[in-house]
Amino acid sequence: MKKITSLEDLRKIKEQSKDLTSARSGGKMRIIVGMGTCGIAAGAREVMTAILQELEKRGLTDVAVETTGCIGMCQKEPLVDVIRPGEPRTTYGEVGPGDVPRIIVEHIVNGNIVEDKVVGQTD
């Protein structure tokens, strides 16, 4: 590894290594994928993979991706929730891997809800 010779070098390493521990701190945007039996059967695994790939592609390291169990709305699986700090929790239903880039760009990056996929919102 290159030697640190300035504050800038140290900042660069800090920036690069931020992701190493970022998943361990709270208070940021969250994407929650329903991974109950129903979700997995409906293709939640593929959706999860697509989410991780999209975040990586866009360098969005400040998003926590979590999984959750069945919430009872099995007919709408795969369900994906997006929570931006201070905003209501938005649940998207029947999400396919193809919908993922749109949700991430529109909702996570720009803060606009992708209306046609929304199932509901809660606080």
């Binding site: 300035s6 140290l10 290594s17 190493l20 521990t21 998943a23 361990r24 990586e56 979590e66």
Partner: protein, 598 residues
């Protein structure tokens, strides 16, 4: 860099490693790979979380779920439930020890952590200690950069002085002033030393910091070296701490690779080289002059002060010695400022103190509390009180050099002055809790035996005086004590204190003095009544079988290792007192509680 959605932190501190976190880590690795989750779930080895009682500990982020006593058999279920399906595995969550048995899913909500203030331990259990990048991600080496590139040296020294930081090794000397002495001392060659020779029975604060966040100590030393004008340093760590030494070596190597240790650090003309000296385990080598003698390759024995190390230390050169915990505080003080640090704690004792909480307490482990918290809060609120509804009896502060405090002193705030006023010392932070089943004379004997063995032999009072004191205590435990023995003990204790060169002898009588002061009745019970109230001293107790309760099941007779119990089947049994060795095994196995001890 791949994006990981979840992190599994497996504690690899010495406590959790001893309870099996090594194989646990391996099982996780294999199971995550088998499930194809190894590209999205990061597996991290961390240092101590402090809650060693509940080990091996596994924390899963981003949820921050705190799993306790996880065994390799649990791994497939935990991975499937939590990491695959997203359901927190209730079964392994931390459960409160009280009657309600509440399961607590989040790390931050566990009462053990709620009252703590983690400044030194902020990274312990949170980062991978073997990865310098994780340390840098948590502001690591930023303080060093600030000191080298932005602040004038006087200003840095001023921050340390104003912060009110005092030596965490036990004596509590103001760190800033100590640095100033070494800085002012004339000489081209100066040394920096980290005292990691933690030898008190039941103490593991320094070990945990070195194992969990070694870079914080290295960074603190670099800052100190720069201020004092030193280009070479030693970490004196006992060889019984193999994991700490391994992690320190890794940390030093990584810092060297990044140019944070070596020549022209960060492009400046500051150069620093750091060595590890492994100590052979003599308790006296924790005393600074003995420690330096040991580094020089001589026999570890204390020397008179003055001259103080700041003027004539290692190889006669100006030397600054601080304890592990003191060094680890430095980067945080530089980053956050003197006012931030001095806002924590009391008037004369600033910041936090780490305690190794051991003995008869529910949450055995590592605790960092703001100075000024009372002993009661530390032992009962953080420590969770005494197990099995037993009564609290005493707490030994500061290891064998410290003192033993009774229940009436529990509201003493933990700061240097208040603790000293009781006759105990803050020491390095050992806290051994005892309950009603502990004999206080036996307890004092234990600590005195330790210092007696560890006395280097240089000063006659320490060498012979502690031996005589120990003989008196042994006599009392055997029921052969006289009342005059108490006066003799007190007299000898004072003379050992006055007649010893170093702090080992100077504090060795503390446990005896404080137990006589606070538990005189128990000494008198041994001497006058020939009774051991806690029923520990074997010469003063005897076991008897209640013939009315005994059902003649013969279990005690079969259990007795010396065939002291006789009797026919279904008839009351009898213990031969001459043969009995008072091991208590008969009482433990009796199904009808017919055996009692008096």
């Amino acid at each position: 860099m791949a994006l990981y959605r979840a992190h599994v932190l497996v504690c690899r501190g010495t406590g959790c490693t001893a309870s099996g976190s090594g194989p646990l880590y391996e099982t996780f690795r294999k199971e995550l790979a088998r499930r194809g989750l190894d590209k999205e779930v990061m597996l991290v080895e961390t240092g101590c979380h402090g809650m060693c009682e509940m080990g091996p500990i596994v924390v899963v982020y981003p949820e921050g779920s705190f799993y306790c006593r996880v065994k390799p058999e649990d791994v497939p279920e935990l991975v499937e439930e939590h990491l695959y399906k997203g359901r927190i595995l209730q079964r392994l969550l931390y459960t409160t020890p009280d009657v309600e048995k509440i399961k607590i899913p989040h790390y931050r909500d566990i009462p053990f952590y709620g009252k703590q203030r983690r400044i030194v331990l902020r990274n312990c259990g949170y980062i991978n200690p073997d990865n310098i990048e994780e340390y840098i991600a948590r502001d690591g080496y930023q303080a060093l950069a600030k000191v080298l590139l932005e602040l004038p040296a006087e200003e840095t020294l001023d921050i340390v002085k104003k912060s009110g930081l005092r030596g965490r090794g036990g004596a509590g000397f103001p760190t800033g002033r100590k640095w100033e002495f070494a800085r002012m001392a004339p000489g081209d060659k100066k040394y920096i030393v980290c005292n990691a020779d933690e030898g008190d029975p039941g103490a593991f604060m320094d070990r945990s910091v070195l194992e969990g966040d070694p870079h914080s100590v290295v960074e603190g030393m670099l800052i100190g070296a720069y201020i004092i004008g030193s280009d070479e340093g030693y970490i004196y760590c006992r060889a019984e701490y193999p994991l700490a030494i391994k992690r320190l070596n890794t940390a030093i190597e990584q810092a060297e690779e990044l140019g944070l240790i070596g020549d022209n650090i960060m492009g400046t003309d500051f150069s620093f080289h750091l060595h590890i000296k492994e100590g052979a385990g003599a308790f006296v080598c924790g005393e600074e002059t003995a420690l330096m003698a040991s580094i020089e390759g001589k026999r570890g024995m204390p020397n008179p002060r003055p001259p103080f190390p700041a003027n004539s230390g290692l190889w006669g050169k100006p030397t600054n010695i601080n304890n592990v915990e003191t060094w680890a505080n430095i980067p945080q003080i530089i980053l956050n400022g003197a006012e931030w640090f001095s806002s924590v704690g009391t008037e004369t004792s600033k910041g936090t103190k780490i305690f190794a909480l051991t003995g008869k307490v529910n949450n055995t482990g590592l605790v960092e509390a703001p100075m000024g918290m009372t002993l009661r809060e530390v032992i009962f609120d953080i420590g969770g009180g005494i197990p099995n509804n037993k009564k609290f009896k005493a707490v030994q502060l500061g290891g064998p050099s410290g003192g033993c405090l009774p229940e009436s002193m529990l509201d003493t705030p933990v700061d240097y002055e208040s603790i000293n006023a009781t006759g105990a010392i803050m020491g390095s932070g050992g806290m051994v809790v005892t309950d009603e089943d502990t004999c206080i004379v036996d307890f004092a004997k234990f600590f005195l035996t330790f210092v007696q063995n560890e006395s280097c032999g240089k000063c006659p009072f320490c060498r012979i005086g502690t031996k005589r004191m120990l003989e008196i205590l042994e006599r009392i435990c055997e029921g052969k004590g006289k009342l005059e023995d108490l006066d003799l003990l007190e007299d000898l204790a004072q003379k050992v204190k006055d007649g010893s060169l170093c702090a080992l002898g100077g504090t060795a009588p503390n446990p005896v003095q404080t137990t006589i002061k606070y538990f005189r009745d128990e000494y008198i019970a041994h001497i006058v009544d020939k009774k051991c109230p806690a029923k520990v001293c074997t010469a003063l107790i005897h076991y008897t079988i209640d013939p009315d309760k005994c059902i003649g099941c013969t279990r005690c007779a079969r259990e007795c290792p010396v065939q002291a119990i006789s009797g026919e089947v279904k008839k009351p049994h009898l213990i031969d007192q001459d043969l009995c060795i008072k091991c208590g095994r008969c009482m433990a196995v009796c199904p009808v509680k017919a055996i009692s001890v008096e």
